[in-house]
């Protein structure tokens, strides 16, 4: 049993079968990549996992509990964090405040009024946030507005904000899209470090094969809404069906 079990998931948008009978199991503490050409249904699948879309049929179990029908923030509270294709951070807030919010969310749940008082616990949160920023090499920027950071640093911050919640499953949606090579490599290193240091399962959707083959332990290839093959990276590289459907003969 994997930590994430997707069974017979179907999703139709009008005449388009976005997901057709998707079965997928992500084992705990592995890095599982989901690849596939444009329109293969990768983003639809991700949106089902985080509660943004509800599938027509099928089940999605996370750690033995169904995620279907729950609101996105509830699914997040179950231990699933998501990193977006374009970094979604609190642009008007400082870097430190950005990091404090997930720590508050982890401590207090989905809603808690802390309008006045509780200064001691706030200090604790600030300390934790600063430690987290140091481990991300963002401590020097802590009082800057996060919107002013480089794309690479925004990505680091976003990943850090997800980690601050200590999720059990981290979902990454093309985390290096639109990044310069140096930033891409930094992100790969960061993710490798996370994988080594934490008990965490990572599911990653990616176009960049360099990123996929640097990180993934298992790869699922989606094509036209259905899983084509699932295997280790080495096997995937040589798989004739994958070459045909996705990588092209040149790969």
């Amino acid at each position: 049993m994997g930590i994430l079990e997707i069974k017979n998931v179907n999703k139709r948008f009008g005449g388009l079968q976005a997901l057709g009978d998707v079965n997928l199991s992500v084992a705990e503490n592995t890095v599982h990549a989901i690849i596939g050409p444009n329109g293969a249904g990768k983003s639809t699948l991700l949106n089902v996992l985080v509660g943004k879309l509800i599938p027509d049929t099928g089940s999605v179990m996370f750690d033995g509990q169904s995620v279907l029908g729950r609101k996105p923030y509830e699914i997040n509270q179950m231990g699933i964090s998501r990193v977006f294709q374009t970094p979604e951070i609190f642009g008007d807030l400082t870097v430190l405040e950005n990091m404090m919010i997930p720590i508050f969310a982890k401590r207090d749940g989905a809603f808690r009024m802390r309008a006045i008082g509780a200064a001691a616990s706030e200090r604790e949160v600030i300390e934790q946030a600063e430690l987290m920023l140091e481990s991300l090499n963002l401590a020097d920027a802590r009082h800057d507005h996060s919107a002013a950071m480089s794309r690479g640093n925004k990505r680091r911050l976003e990943i850090g904000m997800c980690l601050a919640q200590e999720p059990r499953l981290l979902l990454l949606d093309e985390p290096t899209a639109g990044m310069a090579r140096a930033d891409t490599n930094n992100t790969i290193d960061l993710l490798k470090q996370i994988k080594d240091e934490r008990d965490i399962t990572i599911a990653i959707i990616e176009h960049d094969m360099h990123v996929v083959f640097s990180l993934a332990e298992r790869i699922t290839v989606l094509a036209q809404g259905s899983p084509l093959v699932e295997d280790t990276p080495d096997k995937i590289k040589g798989h004739p069906k994958v070459r045909e459907a996705y990588l092209g003969e040149s790969a």
Partner: protein
Amino acid sequence: MLGLTKKDFALLLVVTALALFAPFILNPFPEGSGMAQFNAGYPDLMQRFAIFGIFAIGFNILFGLTGYLSFGHAAFLGVGSYAAIWMMKLLTDNILPAMLLSVVIAGLFSLVVGYISLRRSGIYFAILTLAFAQMSYALAYSVLTPITGGETGLQLKLNDPRILDAALAPGERANANLFGLDMTASHELYFGAWQFTFNAGYYIAAACLILAFYLSIRIFRSPFGMMLRAIKSNNTRMTYTGLNARPYALAAFVISGMYAGLAGGLMVAMDTQVGPERMFWTASGEVVLMTILGGAGTLIGPVLGSGVIKYMENIISKINGSILHEWFSWMPDGLEDALVTLIYPFVGKGWHLTLGIVFMLVVIFLPGGLVEGGQRIGRMFRRNGGASRAAKDIAEQRNPAE
């Protein structure tokens, strides 16, 4: 100090000083001089400064922090006023229970309105709140006449029950008071040609303003305030951080509704009558203007904005044709007439035109409101302080997120 940083405490001190010394600050011109009509230090207007300051501070907690633009906040002010006058009619002329009830009732009403309106955001939210406010206005005007007094509104009457108060002696009038301190009681201080009025009602309102301002600083600087700013900044990330944005927004909505209720209660405490017109949509629009003019999302902006608008409404609107002629009487006749004709549309009943122009200028050139103007002037002075500082300021300017 009081759980505030040095900078915030200094700001609180400034507001406190402004509020306490308002009778001096607003009366800079001697009585009887030509400039005396620019004096704003009379009780009625000073009370309005404080009351609308509270209204705008509360509105800013919703609009400035969460970005939700409510176009119906006057409804909460009106409901607060009706609650207060009923308390004074039925229970006692003491304003304390009246104000407490106005805050509670406005809070409950805003809970209902907010719960429904916050199902949508952006323009739809604004329209929903506007619809609620206009419904309240229309109901108060017509169907609810037994409770609201309809078009004429409600006043204190001699035959009101006032079950806690002793019967009035013949010829005595019911007066709003705080444990016997009459709201209309004033002390006049003469200083040469200057006259300063210290009014009990104003100081009650000013005390409420200072308290309201202090609370708003605490809310702004608290984790709760940070969450509210997070809603405005990125609702998607908020959701995917396991936070439910709606109760946060609703809490902000109710808090700002309670501020509006307090303002409404104070209005009744200062002037014991209510009419439905204070719930009209223009009143809701006015508080939006105040907040934006002063600087939405800043602490002191709403106070400044409400002050400027109320000053213009009461002072500029009093300048009429004959006063203009008097001012320019030293000019040759033709020029005098031309100048008066030119200025006339902007004063008196045309003060809205001046307000409109000021508002447009601020929104176009100072999107951060009057507070941004103040910051720019401050930076200009500091820039003369040294080259390295100037470089830092320029770096700050490139990053004008706040």
